[in-house]
Amino acid sequence: MVMDNEIVALSSLEALVEAVARGSQPALRRIYEQESRRLYGVALRIARRPALAADALQDAFVQVWQKAGSFAAERGSAEAWLTGIVRYRALDAVRKTSREEPSDDPALGDRAEDPDQIEQIDRLLSRDALRRCLGALDENQRRSILLAFVDGLSHAEISKRLPAPLGSVKSWVRRGLLSLRSCLDS
């Protein structure tokens, strides 16, 4: 197979996914080499336990192999697609096991108690519309959305963490998403 040689090494992530769709295992391997550290970090932040995170990463790559054919052109970014698959697998894993109280041990990468994650976001997403739009949300909405997306917390876990009533958290998430959407669309 043509893609199986040095071409793989030079390909963009999108091209690699397309090659995986055509059945190239070397392309999948290359994606693993390139992305596994980042994706494992994403999974570990959500799953919190290394064994669960490793399983989620494994399941995710098997899914990438199976679903690469459906990575259609209506998607812009293979990175977003991959991140999504890993996040959903990690979320599944963590929702199935009853998660212990979220830990504040910094070794586990739990930064949820950061007084203002927006500083970190400023650094990571400079000039990004997402940064501007998150900054425009009210504090509770922003924290709820970040705790859900980055830490994989459920409504109930966010409500415990903040702490705030469950009903408020649900409405912050929903209203935050709707404001975010109109801001990102404008």
Binding site: R22, R45, A54, V62, G69, E79, F149, V150
Partner: protein
Amino acid sequence: MIPDDLDDLHALAGEYVLGTLDPPAAREIDDALVANAALRRAVIFWEERLHGLSRLAAPGEPPPETWQKIAARLEIAAQPRTRLWNSLTLWRWSTAAATAAAACLALYIALAPPAGPRLVAILHAPQQQQPAWLATAGSGGLLVRALATETAPVDRSFELWAIAPGATPVSLGLIPASGRLELGRSTSIRDGDLLAITIEPEGGSPSGQPTGPVVFAGTLVAAK
């Protein structure tokens, strides 16, 4: 139920991507994604826009044996085409969908003229009750037509396949944007064949076997 209201749809898709939906609601979205283009666009919107936030998680070294385990699982998994068609058996066709399809089929057969089609199939999306395509075959050949507006994603084509029980899929061709495909009577299909529509690269599957997801399927049955 997947809402029609745009705000509701976007909030629901957003919560799906965040991971705050309860598992049954998340499964409902999973099932609806294949056939509901507006929902798919909304989910992709959020995945594309939010994924940068995942950089807040510090990268880490996965256990060293992880790749070996993945590779071992790929070896066990069969060739791509078998994999795809195995996934058909995973479709959870709801009783309601089956009943709705049967009712439709009965009505169609009742209305069909005596010289009408010999074989009929109603294709629908997994877990959807709505019949999406009607296939009729008779002495004149095979006619497949969309019952509602169904469009393939940008730069992709719908490809129609016939699969006899236990056999590999045979391509019957691409479905034009008009949603109507007519084939001559040399088309080889039989009672009991599964008709399936997959999403393929523009111009059709490069390998001659399905590569994309099955988005609609239905079995041909004899119309007596």
